[in-house]
Each structure stands twice: as C-alpha cells, then as structure tokens.
Subunit: 475 residues, 2 copies
C-alpha cells in the first residue's frame, strides 16, 4: 500500500495531467510518436530527442526532432526571440511547449515551443553524419555505435523488437515454453573448426573439459522437450564461419523449437507456416509505415508483393527429388546443375522460389548423406525426414526434421557419420534410453527472416553490432 | 486463403472436436494440465507423457502421468484386461480414453483408459531416478539432461518462462524496446582476468582484434539508448569467475535496461520497484500452485511472507552512509564491521534486509572508489549516484546508476580508475561527444531474482544447464 502511495506520488511528480487543480500542472513527457498521435493536440508537453534538421526563416525557426520511436519527425516551431545557444544538427534537446494542429501539409501536429534546452551539443564538423543526407548503408556500417540514430537503422531496431515479440507470443499462445539453453557447451562439432572455443585468461581452459560456444541449442532443447513437450529458445548462436558473404554472420539470432510426441514432418511445416505467416501479417498490420519506409530504401523490387506472399499465400511444398528434377528441366539457366545427392547453391534456391511464383517453398526429404546423423530416415533407405524452408531473395531461413528416437538407429547413424567420440554423446543417447519419444524440431534464422521482410541485402545491417569474419570488431 | 484452407484441413486432422458430424470424430490431444481442467470431463482424449507411478490392484491398474505442464499428475485407470507390455516407471506413453469425474478424493478428473501405448520404455534399474522417491537436489544436479523430468525441476523451468515473459511484457508496455547486444565484444575489462575469450580452432584469434565474451551489455545499450531512449536486453552474461559459492555462475541471465533523458536515481528505483513487484505479484496470482510446490520443498522458512513482501510491501531505501552507521550500531553481530569506504559482505547485506523487516532495500550512493568509472558523481565529491537492491536471502539482485554523460568528467574518471587503453573506449566517448544525454541504467540478476522467489539455495538449481567454476561441464 505504502509502495503504491509512493508510486502514485512519483508518478504525480512526473506525469501530472490528471492531478487535482490545486497542484501545479506540470507538462506531460511525451515521445515523438506519442506527440504526433495526440488528438486533439492541445496539451502542454515536454519532448526530448535529437535534432534532425534546422531551418531558419526571418521570424521563425523550424526544428525537426526525432527519438527513434517513429520514422516521422516532430516539427518544432520557435519564434525568433527564443534564444537557443549551441543548437546544431545531432544535438540532444528538451523542448517544452504546446502541441497544436499544424498549418502545414506535411504533418498534422507540431510543437509550438516555449523553451528549447540543449542537453548535449554536437560538433557538425566532427559528427560522421551530415544534416539532410541519407548516408550509404556501407558508410553507416562503420559507425555501429552511432548508426542507430539514423532513421533507417532505428527502424530496423524497432522491427527486430516487434518481430521477436510476435514470434514469442505466438509460440506461448500455442502452449510452448521458452527455455534458456547454454552458450558454453562441450560440443565441438567433431573438431570441424567452425566453432569458437571459450578460454580463460592467457588462453587457459576454465572448466574441467574444453568448452565451445553453442552452434545450435538443439541437443539441449531435445533434453528439455523430454520433460516439457513443447519448448523453444531464442538467442545468439556463434559460429567461427569463414564465409564472407552477405548472408553470414559469426554471431546471429536463432529461434529453435522442439516438440515431443510428434513424428510427422507436416506438424513442423504447419507450425512454421502458421508462425511465420502470422508474425508477418501482424507486422504488416501494425507496422506498415516502418516496413514501407524500409522498402522505399531497398534495392530489392516488388517487396510489398513478396512480403504479402510470406504473410498470406500458401507455402508451397516439394521433395528434394522433385526439386532436382525441376532444376534439371531448366538446366540452361545454371552454370552448374546439381545431380541427385548434391546440395543446392544460392542460384538454385532462388530459382526454386521463383518457380513457385516467389512464394516460400518447403523442400523435404534430402539425401541421407547431406544431412546430420540425428535426422530420422525414411523407409526408402535413401532420404531423411527433414525440411528446409526457402524464402524469396534470401534462400534458406529455416530447417527442421523428425529426430531419430531409437537408440540403435541413432548409434548406427553416428557410426556411419564417422563420429569417433561417442562417449561425449552418452547423455544424448540417454534421452533415447529412458522413456524416449518421437520428436521433431526446427531452427529459424531470425536475421535472414528479417532480411526477407525488409529487403536489406547485407545481413550486417539487420543486427545492431554485427560480428563476421570480414568485419572489424570495434566495440 | 489456400493456406488457411490447408491449415483448416490439417487442424481438422489433429483436433476434430468441432468438425461436422459426417467426419470421423477423432479424440482431442490434451496435455496433462488441459485434461485436469476439462470441465465437464466428458471428452474422448489422447494424453501423452511419462509414467510417474504404477499401482496394480486386483482388477485395476492405476497409472500416474506427468508431462511438465503442471505439478499435478493425471490419474489413469486401466482395467486389468488391458494389456500394456513394457510399462515401467519413466516410460513415455500415449493414453487414449475418456476423461471422467474421479471417485477419489485426490483429484477431480481421471482418465478412464481404452488404450495405453508405450512409446519409449525405461529400464528402472538403469534409470537414475526411482519411482515415488524425491531425490536430493544435489543428486539430481548430476543428471542435467534428465532432471527436468522431475516435478521440482520442471516447475522451475515453467516459472523461468513465466517470469521472463512478465518482465518483458511490463517493460514493453512501458515503452521500452528489446534490443540484441553482442556476446562477443572487444571489452576485456582491463585484463582483470575474469572475462572469457573467444578463440577459433587451435586457440587462434578469429577477428582482427581479440574478442571477449560479454560481462555486461551496458556500453552497447548506452549506444542504443542514444537512438531509442528506452531499451533493454535480456540474455546470457559470461564471467570467468573463480567463485565457488552457491550464488555464482559463469553463465547467467541478466536483464539490463538503459533510459536516456533521465538523471534522477529515483526513476531507476521507481522502475525497479514497479517492475519486480508487479512481476512477482503476477506470478503469485497466476502460478500460486507452482510457487507453493517449490516453497514446500525449500529449506528457507516463511517464504510466502518474503515473496509477499517483494510483491506488495514498499521497498525500503537508505544511503550507503546510513547503512554503514546501522551496521556499526550492531557491531556485535558481525565478525568484521565495514568502515566507510569498504564494501559489504553477504552477512551485512542479510542484516540490512532483516533490519528492514525482511523487505527489499535500496542502498544508494556508494563511495566513488568502490564503483566503476562510468557512474556519475555526487556534488559531495565522495559518492556516486548509484543504487544496489538487496533482497531477502540472496542479497544483491540489482544494481543501477546515473551514467556520467559529460565527456571531460568521464575522461577524468577513467584516468583516476587507472584505465590505460582509453583508445579502446573512443566509441564510448563518442556517445558523450555527439548529442550526449543524461541517462541511467540498471541490471537485474534474473537467476538470483528467481532464487529469492523460490527459496532455492543453490543458483545451479535455477538454470537448466549450470556452468560454474566448481561444476563439471557435461553437455
């Protein structure tokens, strides 16, 4: 009770619009998006943010203010007798005034200002960004600590937040539990060399065994799904990948899901279809302005159509074998045409998607030799129960499979894959030894998913602080 | 549209309770918690899970089924003419039958079963857990891959999910954006030796600079808060900490928050108070059964009172100086009494909480020398604008401060702290160089927060796969 009282008092101190009349009426603190949505715009407010442009006229100064909460600026109108020392592009300010209907076309609301206080000035010569200039995305990438202040990069950040939230909330509504799987594991992926190792001071081991950074949470999720049947984890994955393409990062975000009591690959595809299409539908519905702003600045054409297809069209499906047949039928279009048993390249993935009218495509049942040991085999003795989801522009965004739940088959698969340190997998075999269950799982590359939605060509521009083999690590 | 149709069809295939009469009526698939909540319990269902006990009587067999969705079991009643080969404790099963009102006191609903299919058997001799035995928490800790199947450990997992969700949703409702800060950074904490380093194959560097695993997302959050003023991140933190206490992990979860345009420490304490107390209030409200189950198995006394205080009482506040005075007044109770300028030990933290009637206590304004360079100093020239939150039983769960936003003061602080590689912080100084803003931030130790709520003494039992200096890393 006392806590509530205290909370009331402090709330009163800061947001006093509904206090009784004997108290001093203090202005409400608003973000830019809140200001622009004030209707009718009659209130005394304080708005804080960074100056994105200054226009001085004879008797009046127009300032534009942004604070990362919307792609729009708040126009601030200051009469010339208002002294504002140190005001430059990039400065942070606190503006106090009255929100009024704007007489100008570009905005409905503007701030008729009484006082502008510069909180932090900004030397326009030294500041890497210039007023009224949309700097190249490659140029901005050099200033990871400052680029989120650019409207484009700020919008990407907001969309990351909204998309994460929608994915989580869909899964939770469907009865999934979010779990926390470890960053440091004993899994070295058979010394394949593309894992990071965690060492202590002077490159010494810290634990009793070498510890590696997670390349997938799958095995830990499988353990948890044998206790709570529907689980997911959403977090960073680290791979010491030497790829220097615009689709690879050394640190990226993955949503991984595991479902026990499920041995039907179509439960995986149905879930992925519903999860992704509803998330995208939601984003279009609630954040159309943000998406359109990003699309406007993308080199990818017809993004609205693509994203609409992701949200609303039926996801297509074909087997790996059918995909190979399609590619071979159109062999003239490729430098190299994959034979059955070989993996697809980016050009083949792109072709398969365009073959399906730029709709997402599930490609199912790959050859055994192309996929990891934990996938359940089909009765044909040639293929596994797996699925890859291909998206327009970006290619693979998701992979899933039915897991082998029989301990003898699993051991055989491990041997055939050439795994030597089977003793390191004893705990994993235990899951099949004690109350084993048929189960499926999948992983969605969150950054690539956002690339597809935004038309951002380089994955380094989707994450705020990218880490990749060809990129300097500066902070 | 076609997608929706396909979704309908597949949904129909699996959950047919509301299909039209000409279709075959297939039983609904239920979790244990859904079964127990079916009211009236008349439906044909399929329930899947693991066998937690078997009681054979003359003409009837009673099975108990659990699936991690509740602390309760579903009682399955099988007439003896029902053959169930390979059924043992720990087996996974699929049971088909009809939910009916139970004639027994212990439960309202039970499953009158027509068919029980064992999906994965379990050798009761080899399985580390025995039927009807609550194994010691230390014993269970040895089997990280299997222990979530124990009701206690499964309940902790569910609470982690619910608490994470509530914290996120409170902050989002308050206008905060969740951002993703990197695991790999250049910050080596001045070679203090308690950071992990990420290396590639054969202990080689991977990037152009040495990369370390994050010990705090604060600096990256500060950069983002200078673009979107209210941000948070919730994820793993890695510290090569040699502590072997029951309060330390090498990998733990932290919720970190940064607020721009805020220079009042009480905005931090108000936010923390509201965020944590409402989260706890929610958990008590919605997950009382789970909490009570964990409290029943805790050695900590009077947990309900403690947790109620966290949810409903006013959080107390005192300055560091007042805290020292209180401790000195009760000097007889301690082996060592801290003088002004020295840090508190666990016994002192515990005393301060009990001094405040076992309510959470904010201790504010510590001596400059005890705290990091980025904290803003008070005008007294002796203390900083910081706050630590102490909780009953666990001590410090949260720390926050006003950040130094003036570049000259920040440089002075860095020099006085003995930081040599100031060039590595140039990007951080840029934040104060270009449009600097007064800002505050804080970090909440999520695992310790849950320890306080559940009465779990060892932090290794709060996370599913603990990593710590004294603990073998097995998976």
């Amino acid at each position: 009770m006392f806590r509530l009282l205290r909370k009331c008092l402090t709330t009163t101190r800061r947001f006093c619009t509904d206090t009784s009349s004997f108290m001093v009426r203090e202005p409400k603190i608003c973000t830019v998006v809140q200001s622009l949505n004030e209707n009718p715009p009659t209130e005394d407010v304080v708005v804080r943010g960074w100056i994105s442009s200054i226009r001085k006229h004879k008797n009046v100064t127009f300032l534009h203010l942004q604070d990362g909460t919307t792609t729009d600026d708040l126009q601030i109108v200051a009469l010339d007798d208002l002294p504002i020392p140190n005001l430059t592009y990039g400065s942070s300010v606190e503006a106090k005034g009255r929100l009024v209907r704007s007489p100008y076309d570009k905005q409905e609301v503007e701030l008729s200002v009484e006082e502008v206080k510069v909180l932090g000035s900004c030397d326009p010569e030294a500041y890497p960004f210039k007023s009224k200039k949309m700097h190249d995305i490659e140029y901005r990438r050099q200033f990871q600590h400052l680029r989120p202040r650019n409207k484009f990069d700020g919008t990407v950040l907001r969309l990351r937040h909204e998309a994460s939230r929608d994915l989580r909330s869909y899964l939770t509504d469907e009865g999934f539990y979010e779990v926390h799987t470890p960053i440091m594991t004993t899994n070295d992926c058979e010394g394949a060399g593309y894992v990071f190792k965690a060492v202590a001071h002077e490159n010494k081991e810290f634990f009793d065994k070498p510890s590696f950074l997670t390349v997938s949470a799958q095995f830990h999720l499988e353990a948890l799904s044998h206790a709570i049947p529907k689980v997911f984890t959403f977090g960073p994955i680290l791979r010491a990948d030497h790829s220097k393409t615009r689709h690879h990062l050394s640190e990226f975000y993955m949503l991984e899901i595991e479902m026990a009591f499920c041995d039907d690959l179509h439960e995986v595809t149905d879930l992925v279809d519903a999860l992704l299409s509803e998330t995208v539908d939601n984003l279009i519905d609630k954040h159309e302005k943000d998406l359109k702003y990003l699309w406007k600045h993308s080199e990818v054409e017809d993004l609205m159509k693509t994203v609409d297809a992701i949200a609303k069209e039926s996801y297509q499906g074909m087997t790996y074998t059918e995909a190979v047949e399609i590619l071979q039928k159109h062999r003239k279009q490729f430098d190299y045409v994959p034979k059955w048993g070989e993996d697809f390249g980016k050009e083949h993935e792109r072709f398969l998607v365009s073959h399906c009218n730029q709709c997402p495509v599930f490609v199912e049942e790959y050859p055994i030799a192309l996929k990891p040991f934990y996938m359940k085999r089909n009765v044909d003795g040639k293929t596994v129960k797996n699925v890859d989801l291909l998206y327009p522009h970006v290619g693979e965004v998701c992979g899933g499979s039915v897991r082998e739940d029989n301990i003898d088959n699993l051991k055989r698969n491990m041997e055939e894959s050439g795994i030597k340190n089977i003793e390191a997998f004893e705990w994993y075999l235990d899951l099949r030894r004690f109350g084993s269950v048929p189960h499926c799982g999948l992983g969605i590359g969150f950054d690539r998913f956002l690339q597809a939605l935004t038309g951002i060509k380089n994955i380094k521009d989707i994450v705020p602080f990218p880490r990749s083999y060809d990129n300097s690590i500066t902070m």
